[in-house]
Structures are given as structure tokens and as C-alpha cells.
Symmetry: C2
Subunit: 284 residues, 2 copies
């Protein structure tokens, strides 16, 4: 998906947010925004928003002289998410359709996102996602695939969300005996999960953890390493978490099931469904 004019203020917002999380003063936050606005003049609007965001965050980190401005909030939400594990497991245990409930929980974890959303109320959002109708719901298609394809490439998204993914992955393994390869970012970008976060969530005991080789929100294939690209191109079932991965991969003719909450008007309009919708979307 290309960049739309409405993405520009969102980029500016991210620059101020990163500066704020890094402890910059209000004056310094404004200075960073001024410099990033200068940077945004020369971006290519045909690039996907995550590609631009990745390169902008490299600039922001240089300006802030801070390699991981989101470190503190990532640690915080890792801990909060892990503390919710037992409660979430219990919700699955009590439910009729355990696969669907765990899949809903995986989406609920997708609210932990500083890239697209400023604030979120986790408990409230979980409740909502557990009962809300899907705007796009390729669930039967996914179940058919799960019966046939035993190996799944699972594209992770945010730190903390990893714990919620674990709940879904545990059901996938239990019901379909799936083998999961869990892909994370090579190094910090916004609050995206890296290997460290996947291990923190206990995913190393359930899955193979691989790096995409790139440090973009979403998965910008041109920045990924060869190993990941080979894996991506040969996988017969890919589950992709989060809006960023959708923005970068929706045009790829691969068997990807996108699982996310729609966090902005640009993507809502692109898919023709309301903002805040939840979707399980398979195009090809």
C-alpha cells in the first residue's frame, strides 16, 4: 500500500512520540518535529508507509542519539502482557470455539501499538475484540488451510503482543499439531518485537524464532535477509499480525492471512471497512 497524504501527520506524531519517550524536553520535541518535517518533504509517496517510517525512525534515532527510544515502554508492556497470560488462557479454556477465541486474543494483543495509536486501554479493548464481529472474516478458509498445512510462518508484530500470540500458537499446536516459525524484527523499531521479546513471552519453547533481517515496522521485503525471503517465498501458510505487515505485504501473491485491528482511516478506506474493525483477511 502506498503512502497517502493523511500518513504525513501520523509520521510527525511518531517523531514527537519517540522524542517524548526518549525523555526529550518539549522544546526538543518540537525541534525534532521540525527536522522530521524537513525530512518528509523528500519521501517517495509510492513507498509503503512502514518503509518511510523505518527510514524516518533511523533519522529520529540519530537526532535523539538514542538507539531504542521505546525501550522503557516496551519493557513495561512486556511485563503487563505476561501478567495477563493466566487470565487469557482461562478465557480460552472456558470458550466453545477455542481456536477462534485464541485468534481473537491474538488480535486483542494488537492494540499494544505505539506506531498507530497514541493510547489504548488494554482490558477494555480485549473485552471488545472478544465479542466484536469481524469486518472481513476468512476463518473457514484459514481452518481448511490449517488442516492441510502443518508448517506456519507466523509474522509477529509488537512487543507484548507476543504473549497474546503465544495463546493462539498454543491452540494451533494443540488442535492442528502445527509447527510454527515465528518471525521478529532484526533490531528495535518503534515497539516492534525483537527476538528478546519473543523469548520473554516464552515463544522459544513453542516455535522456531527467526529474524526478518530488517528493522522496519511491517515487513519491507527489500530490506529483509535472504534466509527470510526464502522462507517467505516457500511457505504455504503465513499468518501475519498487525496493520504494518498488511501495509507492506498486501500486494504479495502469497498465502498470507492478515490478522489485525484497523487503526487508521487510511487503511480503513483502502479496505472499505470502518476504522477500529477487526479483520482476518486472505487475498490470494
Amino acid at each position: 500500500m502506498k503512502t497517502f497524504p493523511e500518513c504525513i501527520p501520523c509520521f510527525v506524531r511518531q517523531s514527537i512520540q519517540a522524542a517524548k519517550f526518549a525523555g526529550a524536553s518539549e522544546q526538543r520535541q518540537k525541534e525534532i518535529a521540525d527536522k522530521i518535517e524537513e525530512y518528509l518533504k523528500n519521501i517517495n509517496m509510492q513507498d509503503t508507509p512502514p518503509k518511510t517510517s523505518r527510514n524516518m525512525h533511523i533519522e529520529i534515532r540519530k537526532l535523539l542519539n538514542n538507539e531504542d527510544p521505546y525501550k522503557i515502554v516496551k519493557d513495561k508492556y512486556n511485563t503487563i502482557a505476561l501478567s495477563m497470560y493466566d487470565k487469557l488462557k482461562n478465557i480460552v479454556k472456558k470458550s466453545k470455539d477455542k481456536l477462534l477465541t485464541s485468534l481473537r486474543i491474538a488480535i486483542a494483543g494488537n492494540v499494544i501499538d505505539f506506531g498507530a495509536q497514541i493510547e489504548f486501554e488494554l482490558e477494555q479493548d480485549i473485552k471488545e475484540v472478544l465479542t466484536k464481529d469481524f469486518a472481513i472474516f476468512d476463518y473457514e478458509k484459514l481452518k481448511e488451510k490449517l488442516k492441510k498445512e502443518k508448517e506456519i510462518l507466523y509474522l509477529g508484530d509488537n512487543t507484548g503482543e507476543t504473549v497474546f500470540d503465544r495463546i493462539f500458537i498454543e491452540e494451533l499446536k494443540k488442535i492442528y499439531n502445527s509447527k510454527i516459525i515465528y518471525a521478529v524484527k532484526e533490531s528495535p523499531i518503534i515497539n516492534d518485537a525483537t527476538k528478546e521479546d519473543a523469548v520473554f513471552a516464552g515463544l522459544d519453547k513453542l516455535t522456531d524464532i527467526v529474524s526478518t533481517g530488517c528493522n522496519s515496522p511491517g515487513i519491507v521485503l527489500e530490506y529483509c535477509n535472504r534466509e527470510f525471503l526464502e522462507l517467505f517465498n516457500k511457505s504455504n501458510l503465513i499468518i501475519s499480525k498487525g496493520q504494518g505487515n498488511f501495509e507492506t505485504l498486501e500486494q504479495e501473491k502469497r498465502p498470507v492471512f492478515f490478522l489485525f485491528k484497523i487503526k487508521c482511516n487510511v487503511v480503513a478506506q483502502y479496505l472499505g471497512v470502518p476504522k477500529e474493525s477487526i479483520v482476518l483477511y486472505n487475498k490470494f
Copy 2:
């Protein structure tokens, strides 16, 4: 209230929105944003956000060569709002506390705002505002004032919202026999109501309509005319609609009751209440 760094992306968003409403192409929208970002480098962060917004919109209109980019959407929401009049009156008629219900309806009309919000769903928001708890609720204080003060300066906000104000004003007149002076913007700014919009809503039959003399969102006193300033300074009861008026007037030591929905994190944090809260706030 001063401008916070988080206001910057909101200003950029407004520039793109104005360009979009004026029918500019995506490329042109991006160009306008680039130029406005240049403009935003030199703003005074000690100014209120509406003051900056007012001057920025003068720039935007020059760039767009369009004196009223919001004209089409204003006309649309004037018509929509007026078509809801009978239904809203009926809600008041059926309610126990007619003053409170009509006051809630006046707040509900405040969701019609392109300055702070991109999208709104009017029917849904009305339902919510009719039952939601107030985060700040100086209602008893307002009622006491209404008993004593028969002349009210009512500071209008947005186009369409004027119809919702009419419902509240009709109850004020019926219950307290109040005389209302309804203040509107001198000329178009974003979707703020001008005299034409107040007349469209039928307010000329119920109130004196006066101009603030200025064309800013909110009421920037330094841009108002002498007549309005005299009126503002001598009024013993002022009802102020909308977040913009709060941002520009909250420091003034005048008997103002601010009635609005909190539409952004900056104001939410400033008042120490959640975003999306509804408030009836009197400081002095």
C-alpha cells in the same frame, strides 16, 4: 492554554484536510502539507492552539486560493443537523430533566467538528453523550447562576452544532426566561459557525446574534472587535461551547461555563480527565 508539541501533527492534519475538502489532488495535498510544515517551524508555542490554527488557515486558504475550503461540508452538516431537530426535541420532551437533556444534546452537537476529529458518527455519539457520566460537572452551579442571571452570552462553536444549541437555548428560555446573545465567528474558519449558519439553524428567532469580530477557531480575544470585548467583559453568565473556546478562554477570569467534549490528548491531560470525556466546567 499554550501549544504542546502534540498539537503540531494535528495542525498538519488540518492542512491536508482543508486541501482535501477544497478538492486538491493527493500531490497537491502533500505540497500544502510541506509548506505548512515550513510555516509551523516559526510559530510561538506559547500561543493558544486556536491562535496558531487561525493564522495557519489564513496561509492554507492563500495556498489553496479558496476562501472557505469547508463550505461543502458545512452545508452538508447544517442540513443533516436541521433534519434531526424534531427527533432531538422529542428526546427532550420525553426526558425527566429537560434542562440536562437539552444541555447534553448541545454537547452532542459538539461532535460535528473537523478541527479536532477526522470522523464522527453523529447518531452513535448522540446516544453516548445522552447517557455518559460527566468528567467535570458544575451543573448545580450553572442552575444557581441561571436563576439569578437573565442575560446569557452564549459562545457558539461549529456549523450544524448550532441546531443542537437551539434545542438547549429553547429550554433555557422556557425554564429560566433567559435572554440569549449568541456569538458567532466573523468569517469562515474551518467549520465554525458564522451568522449565516446561526440563521440557518433558526437562532435569529430566539437570540440576538453577534459576531466576535474574529475569524479564529476558539475565541482569540486579541483578534475580537471592541463591541464583542465589551460584551464579554460585562457578561455575568457565559456559556461557551467547544474545545477551541476552552483553549482560548480558560485563563480568563470571567463567569464562563465551558460545555464540550474533549477531543484530544493534549486537553485531556491538561484537565486531568480521559479523552472523549464530556465536561461542564466553571473555573472562576
